[in-house]
C-alpha cells in the first residue's frame, strides 16, 4: 500500500465573524470535518460551488490557515491547531497555481526573478545552477529563454499561467493545488494549459488537487473526485464512479446543470436539478445541509446529518438515500 502524500483527518477550519457590539459573534464553519487523502502522483478533483469551502481547504493544506480541530499530514509534516507548519519545508512539498494569472504574478518582477527567488531562498547558491534550473523550468512549461527578462504585462493570459505553473514547480514540490487554473483564460487557450498540466504531472511525478467548477475539466484530469457542499465532503470516489454512478443528489444536480449539446437529456441525471441556491455557511440548515434544495428530501434529512459511508469500494456518499437509484 502506497503511503498517502496528504492526509486530512477530520479537518475543521472555523472563523469567528461579527463583533460583540454588532449582533454578536458567530462561527462560520468554512471547513467542517473533512477526511481525505491524496496519494503520490494522484489527481484529486475537488468540486463545489462558491462558498462551499474549497479555497479555505486549499489554504489550510498550504499551511496558511491553521486547523480549528483535526489534523493535516503532508509529506512528513503534521499540522494541527497547536503545531504550525515549517513554512520552508511546506514550500518544498506543496505549491499552488492560482486562478487569475493577472493578479497572482508580481508585475515588477521579470520571469527570471520570479523563478529564481524561490531557488535562492531555498539555498541554491550557485549562480549557474540557478540560471540553468530557471531556463530548464521555462522550457518545460513552453516558454523560450528570451522570455526570461520580460515582465508579466508583456505576456498573454495563457503565457502568464505558464509562468504561474513554472513558479509553482521550480522547487520540485510533490503536491500542487490548482485552484481553477483555466477558468480565467480564453476558451481557445484552455486546452493548452490542461494538456501542459497533465504532461508535467507525469514528467515530474506530481500529485494534484484540481479545484474547478468545470466538471468537464475535472472528469478529464482526475483520478478521484471529492464533492464539497457547505464545508463538508458529500461524495467522493473514483472519477468514473462519480460521473457515471453519482449517489448524492447534489452531485447529480451539478452534473445535470452542465449544458450538453451532444447528448441532450440522455443521462439518467438529466432531471435531477437542484432548487435554489447554496445557503449561507453562517446559518446552514439543520440535518443534511443540502436538504432545502434536494429533490429526495424527507423528514429524516432535516433532523439527522448523514455520514459519509461507502456505497462501493472507494466510493462514499453522505446521503440518507445513497442506495436509492434514480
Amino acid at each position: 500500500m502506497v503511503k498517502p502524500l496528504l492526509v486530512l483527518d477530520d479537518l475543521a477550519v472555523h472563523f469567528k465573524v461579527g463583533s460583540m457590539l454588532a449582533g454578536g459573534v458567530k462561527t462560520l464553519k468554512a471547513v467542517d470535518g473533512v477526511t481525505l487523502d491524496v496519494k503520490p502522483g494522484e489527481c484529486l478533483g475537488l468540486v463545489g460551488e462558491s462558498g462551499c469551502g474549497k479555497s479555505t481547504l486549499a489554504l489550510a493544506i498550504m499551511g496558511l490557515l491553521l486547523p480549528t480541530h483535526g489534523r493535516i499530514h503532508v509529506g512528513g509534516q503534521r499540522i494541527s491547531g497547536d503545531t504550525p507548519p515549517d513554512r520552508m519545508e511546506m514550500a518544498r512539498t506543496v505549491q499552488m497555481v492560482f486562478q487569475d494569472p493577472y493578479a497572482s504574478l508580481n508585475p515588477r518582477q521579470t520571469v527570471r526573478r520570479t523563478l529564481a527567488d524561490p531557488l535562492r531562498l531555498h539555498g541554491v547558491k550557485d549562480k549557474a545552477e540557478v540560471e540553468s534550473r530557471v531556463i530548464d523550468m521555462m522550457a518545460k512549461v513552453g516558454l523560450r529563454p528570451e522570455h526570461a527578462d520580460r515582465y508579466p504585462h508583456e505576456f498573454s493570459g495563457g503565457q502568464r499561467q505558464r509562468i504561474g505553473i513554472a513558479r509553482a514547480l521550480i522547487l520540485k514540490p510533490r503536491l500542487v493545488i490548482c485552484d481553477e487554473p483555466v477558468s480565467a483564460l480564453d476558451v481557445s487557450i484552455r486546452a493548452q494549459i490542461i494538456n501542459l498540466l497533465l504532461e508535467l504531472k507525469d514528467e515530474m511525478d506530481l500529485a494534484y488537487i484540481m479545484i474547478s467548477h468545470d466538471l468537464g475539466v475535472v472528469e478529464h484530469v482526475s483520478d478521484r473526485v471529492a464533492v464539497m457542499y457547505l464545508g463538508r465532503i458529500v461524495e467522493q470516489g473514483g472519477w468514473q464512479e462519480i460521473f457515471e454512478n453519482p449517489r448524492h443528489p447534489y452531485t447529480r444536480a451539478l452534473i445535470a446543470a452542465i449544458p450538453d449539446p451532444f447528448h441532450r437529456a440522455a443521462a439518467s441525471v438529466a432531471r435531477a436539478k437542484a432548487k435554489g441556491e447554496i445557503p449561507s455557511a453562517l446559518n446552514p440548515p439543520p440535518g443534511c445541509h443540502f436538504n432545502p434544495r434536494c429533490p429526495l428530501k424527507a423528514d429524516l434529512c432535516t433532523v439527522e446529518a448523514p455520514v459519509l459511508e461507502g456505497v462501493a469500494p472507494g466510493h462514499l456518499a453522505a446521503c440518507h438515500f445513497r442506495d436509492r437509484i434514480i
Binding site: Q159, V187, S188, A191, Q192, E219, F243, A257, D260, G276
Partner: protein, 325 residues
C-alpha cells in the same frame, strides 16, 4: 415570410485609439425573428458584447457606430435621437448584464427599481406600479415577493439579483431581450435555473432573445440559431444542432474539439485535448486576410491576404472560410 424583428446589417463599430481608428467589429450581419432565441458566441474581446451594446444604442466613447444598419421591426434605430432611444429601451428592447450587482442601483429597493419601469414607460401611478412589481417578482420565482420588494440589492444572493434584473427587463413586455453573459457570475446549479427561467418566460411572452456568451454549449442548448464571432467578425452561423454536428469553420471546430466534454473520457478513454495553437490577436494587431489564419491548421497563402467571403450553408447558415467545401 414575415420580416425579422431585428436585422443587423454590415455593422461596423469603431474604436478610437491614439490618433488611429480601429474596427472592433466589422461586417457583422444577422437577423432575429419574432420570439426566436439567437446566440452570439465568442471569446473575450471578439466584439460580441459591443455588438449587443450597439443594438441597445449604448455604445460610448471610445467606441462608436462606424457604419451599417440596425433595423428593429422595420424601423432603423442606429441614429434615432437619444430621447427616442430611451423610450425604446425598456419598452421594446431590454438588456440584462453579467454582474447584476453592478447593474442594479444599490441605493434603491428592488421593488422600486421594477416599478419604475411601469411608471416611466406605461404612465402607471406608483402604488399600482408597486403592485405590479410584486407580480413581476413572483413571475421570476423570487420567494415571498411581498417582502422582497422592499429589499435592497445587497440583501439578495447573486441568483436572486439576476432574477430581479430579468423582472426589470421583461416588465414592459419587450419584443427583444438582450442577455450578455447573464449567468457567468453565477454558480453552475444557479446558472441552469436562470437559463431555464429566461427560456421559459421568453417563450411564454413571445420575446425574442439575443444571447451573448463564451459558452457554446450553453448557447446551443437555449438558442435556435447560433453565430460564432472571432476577432470582430462572424465566422460561422448555423442552426444550433448543426453547429455541433457539422462545424464548418476551423475555429468553431477547434473550440468544440478543445474542451473536455462530460462523458467523453468514459467513452473513449483520456485523449490529449486538441489545442488551438497561438493566442487571440489584439485589436491593434488583427492579421490581414482571414483573422484566424495564424492559428488555423488548414492555412494557405490566400488566407493570409484575402478576407474570405461568406459561403452559404443549409438552412440559412453561412461560413467564412476559403477552404470550406
Amino acid at each position: 415570410m414575415t420580416p425579422p424583428l431585428l436585422k443587423v446589417e454590415d455593422l461596423r463599430i469603431a474604436l478610437a485609439g491614439d490618433g488611429v481608428t480601429y474596427n472592433a467589429v466589422e461586417g457583422v450581419s444577422f437577423e432575429i425573428g419574432r420570439g426566436e432565441a439567437f446566440g452570439l458566441v465568442g471569446e473575450s474581446g471578439c466584439g460580441k458584447s459591443i455588438t449587443a451594446l450597439s443594438v441597445m444604442g449604448l455604445l460610448r466613447r471610445p467606441l462608436s457606430l462606424g457604419g451599417g444598419r440596425i433595423v428593429l421591426d422595420g424601423q432603423e434605430i442606429q441614429d434615432v435621437p437619444a430621447a427616442e432611444m430611451r423610450r425604446l429601451r425598456g419598452k421594446r428592447i431590454a438588456m440584462i448584464f453579467q454582474e447584476p450587482m453592478t447593474a442594479l442601483n444599490p441605493l434603491s429597493p428592488v421593488g422600486r427599481q421594477i416599478a419604475e419601469m411601469f411608471v416611466l414607460h406605461q404612465g402607471a401611478g406608483w402604488s399600482e406600479a408597486m403592485d405590479r412589481a410584486e407580480d413581476a417578482l413572483r413571475q421570476v420565482r423570487v420567494p415571498s415577493p411581498e417582502r422582497r420588494i422592499r429589499d435592497y440589492p445587497h440583501q439578495l444572493s447573486g441568483g436572486m439579483r439576476q432574477r430581479v434584473m430579468i423582472a426589470i427587463a421583461l416588465a414592459c413586455g419587450p419584443d427583444l431581450l438582450v442577455a450578455d453573459e447573464p449567468t457567468t457570475a453565477l454558480d453552475v446549479t444557479v446558472q441552469a435555473e436562470i437559463i431555464d427561467l429566461i427560456a421559459e418566460l421568453c417563450a411564454a411572452k413571445g420575446t425574442a432573445v439575443l444571447m451573448i456568451s463564451h459558452d457554446l454549449g450553453l448557447v446551443a442548448n437555449m438558442c435556435k440559431r447560433v453565430a460564432v464571432m472571432y476577432a470582430g467578425r462572424i465566422v460561422e452561423s448555423q442552426v444550433a444542432d448543426a453547429i455541433f454536428a457539422r462545424p464548418s469553420h476551423p475555429y468553431t471546430q477547434g473550440l468544440i474539439d478543445s474542451l473536455p466534454r462530460l462523458g467523453e473520457r468514459s467513452r473513449r478513454g483520456r485523449q490529449r485535448l486538441r489545442e488551438i495553437t497561438g493566442v487571440v490577436p489584439s485589436i491593434q494587431a488583427y492579421p490581414a486576410g482571414c483573422r484566424f489564419n495564424p492559428r488555423c491548421p488548414a492555412v494557405t497563402d490566400i488566407c493570409r491576404t484575402n478576407v474570405p467571403e461568406a459561403t452559404s450553408l443549409p438552412a440559412d447558415g453561412l461560413v467564412r472560410c476559403h477552404h470550406h467545401g
